[in-house]
């Protein structure tokens, strides 16, 4: 076996060992980081943000104005995405449906949605979200009426996007916590309607 053939498991293990040996990382700290991103930071945060926006018009206005300060009001956006300048929230309406993508790599609003699903990072999604969003959405089970305009937002170094989905019909009497449970990750990416 040559070095080049060594699997990513071996190479990653070697990288960690070398970085630990140099004192650049501690394995326990890596454990904690992974656990934080896998367990603590996830789409539940975004769902909570959406539910707050549905029930609190002043918060909704602040969220649409500038996402990051608004999500900090709810205690999110702490350390995560510290390297990202802006979170822009795009609101779905009766006539506009928003979809987020990162055509170049995999940028994603970690602070509110956690880590992206595998399909979000796939070449097919990244290319087709821009080229033929309507058809892609239809294949994902979301048939949009022709009169609804589809807007696609491509993430960049400076900006991460999140979709504010429309409040489902018949959810008028629910409180924030109950509404939070209705919001899915996919609806905040824009590949699903609630």
């Amino acid at each position: 076996m040559t070095i080049e053939d060594a699997g990513p498991e071996l190479r990653t293990e070697a990288l960690e060992a070398l970085l630990v040996k140099k004192g650049l990382v501690r394995s326990a700290a890596v454990d904690a980081l992974v656990e934080r991103y896998e367990q603590d930071i996830g789409p539940l945060r975004g769902a909570r943000v959406v539910a707050q926006a549905w029930t609190d018009p002043a918060f909704r206005a602040r969220l649409l104005e500038d996402g990051m300060p608004a999500i900090r009001e709810l205690g999110f956006g702490d350390n995560t995405d510290a390297h990202v300048a802006r979170l822009v929230v795009k609101e779905n309406t009766e006539s506009v449906h928003n979809l987020i993508v990162c055509t170049l790599c995999s940028c994603y609003p970690w602070a509110v949605l956690g880590l992206p699903p595998a399909w979000y990072k796939s070449p097919a999604y990244r290319a087709r979200a821009v080229r033929e969003p309507r058809r892609l959405l239809a294949e994902l089970g979301l048939e949009l009426p022709p009169e609804v305009e589809v807007r696609v937002w491509d993430s960049s170094a400076e900006v991460r996007y999140m979709v504010l989905p429309r409040r489902p019909q018949g959810a008028d009497d629910l409180g924030v916590e109950q509404l939070t449970a209705l919001v899915t990750r996919d609806s905040m990416i824009g590949v699903e309607r609630l």
Partner: protein, 133 residues
């Protein structure tokens, strides 16, 4: 429908499982991610520089004609290895030597005794010990 009052790990809205696929398909992927973020948070790795290399490796794969199965985390690993080499954080020869040594280990090397706890850190510590052998 029953709605959770406490949105904890076991609740109906528990992330990220509730929403479908897990972010990582194999342990090395989450390890790689954790290592990258540890260096970013520690200030040894600039996120934007890393992101630029990730974009380049993804574009490179697409330019190769997509002859192999898409593997996002392999592209991340390439970008990470580049970043470490260019920043002088990992010596390529030392890396090659260690990879060779790790590849020669007998099967079952990381399960010397019967236990069930998560011993990722412990394994890394053992691996680190092998560097100077």
């Amino acid at each position: 429908m029953s709605l959770p009052v406490r949105l904890d790990e076991d609740g109906a809205a528990a992330p990220p499982r509730e929403n479908g696929e897990l972010a990582f398909g194999a342990p090395w992927e989450s390890r790689l991610f954790g290592l990258t973020m540890a260096l970013v948070e520690g200030g040894q790795l600039d996120w934007e520089t890393f992101r630029g290399r990730l974009i380049a490796h993804i574009a490179d794969w697409e330019a190769r004609g997509r002859d192999e199965t898409w593997d996002y985390w392999q592209r991340w690993r390439e970008a990470f290895e580049d970043s470490l080499a260019i920043a002088g954080l990992v010596d390529q020869q030392e890396m090659d030597r260690l990879v060779r040594r790790l590849a020669r280990r007998p099967h079952g090397h990381d399960h010397p005794h019967d236990h069930h706890h998560d011993h990722t850190s412990e394994r890394a510590a053992n691996t680190a010990g092998e560097i100077d052998e």
